[in-house]
Amino acid sequence: MKLNDTYQLEQIAGRQVLLPQGQAVIDGGMVYQLNDTAAWVLGALRDAPDEATLLRRAAEEFLPASPAEQATLETEIRAFCDTLRKLRLLED
């Protein structure tokens, strides 16, 4: 997995924001505001080679208390990654 490198995670006025860079700005790239979890996932995606690694690191970070919480965590992270793919922010 690889994050689209025309976007960059930045702090804007105290918020975590995904900003277009370079020609993507000129071409009307969107600005995305992220919550803390989304910002963590995007940070982790930079050096996670695959989804399994990302899910393992997420489990280490968020410490799900039960198998049900673990399943919810995995479902939500997969859904977030799918959203990123649809927005062409993440490539496999």
Binding site: A13, V17, Q21, V25
Partner: protein, 283 residues
């Protein structure tokens, strides 16, 4: 050498008078220039490397210079900005020796805006009018109807023109102030004044008239992206947004969905006056 003052930046026009457009005359000032404009040879534009971005013009950025190339049939074929020279300079390359004052004024605009941005001065692409002693700006992509909407404010409420295409704001300035610029697109409407900026409407063409507030990150992003600025070099958009954040916080902004009819101005002015009353109530 003639010197102009553009939102606090003194620029020497080191060119013959025949090359100076009358649009610059209200901006003449005394004092030593902090940057200068001169004419140069075509060879100055021939340089390899750099990062190139495609906009209306082709912009190439090096660590020490910014080149803007215009269409080959333009009277000014390109400019080179050297922002870090002891006296920052904008060198314009003309197609021939025949004076082309309007084209020169237009061609140096982007480079001047780069220099202004380094001082925290940003240029909002907008048509703007004066009503109730304040400037109201209408910002939208070209062709949306900024000029038409400004004309409705004139017709229905007797508003006066401020600038047909852009205005400058200084990041962090209080009250947020609209600074006039000599550049105004093809409108010919440019007042060399500074007045409080009452608000910004982001225009969208629609079948009904509706004004809705925009706040938070959405307001900041809209405002930053409508600035005629360097957003494209690495990290530039983030810097712009951070620098403009206090201005955005203090500036009423609304998304105006509008028709081309008088009612559009009535909706917008009612919104603007309501926002002004709320602001005065908070003060």
């Amino acid at each position: 050498m003639r010197v102009i003052d553009v939102t606090g930046l003194r620029i020497g026009l080191d060119v013959p008078d025949a090359w100076i457009d009358p649009g610059f005359h209200p901006y003449f000032t005394a004092g030593a220039p902090e940057a200068c404009v001169r004419l140069g040879a075509a060879e100055l534009l021939q340089r390899s490397g750099g990062e190139t971005y495609e906009m209306e013009e082709r912009v190439t950025v090096w660590p020490d210079a910014v080149r803007m190339l215009y269409r080959e049939d333009e009277r000014i074929i390109g400019t080179l900005l050297r922002p870090d020279a002891p006296l920052p300079e904008i060198i314009a390359v003309a197609k021939d020796d025949a004076p082309a004052p309007f084209e020169l004024m237009d061609a140096i605009k982007g480079s001047v805006y780069c220099l202004l941005q380094r001082r925290g001065v940003y240029v909002l692409h907008s048509a703007s009018v004066i009503l109730d002693g304040r400037v109201y700006a209408f910002s939208a992509p070209s062709g949306t109807g900024k000029t038409t909407h400004a004309a409705l404010w004139r017709k229905v409420f007797g508003a006066e023109d401020f600038n047909g295409d852009q205005l400058a704001v200084i990041a962090g300035e209080r009250p947020v102030t609209a600074h006039g610029l000599p550049w105004c697109g093809s409108s010919g409407i440019a007042r060399a004044e500074a007045l409080p900026l009452g608000g910004v409407f982001f225009l969208e063409r629609g079948k009904e008239n509706r004004a809705e507030p925009v706040d938070g990150l959405q307001k900041l992003a809209l405002l930053a992206q409508r600035m005629v600025a360097d957003h494209f070099t690495p990290g530039a958009l983030g810097r712009t947004m951070n620098e403009l954040a206090p201005t955005a916080q203090a500036l009423p902004c609304a998304r105006l969905t509008c028709t081309m009819e008088d009612a559009a101005a009535r909706v917008a002015v009612a919104y603007a006056r309501r926002a002004m009353r709320q602001e005065e109530g908070c003060a």
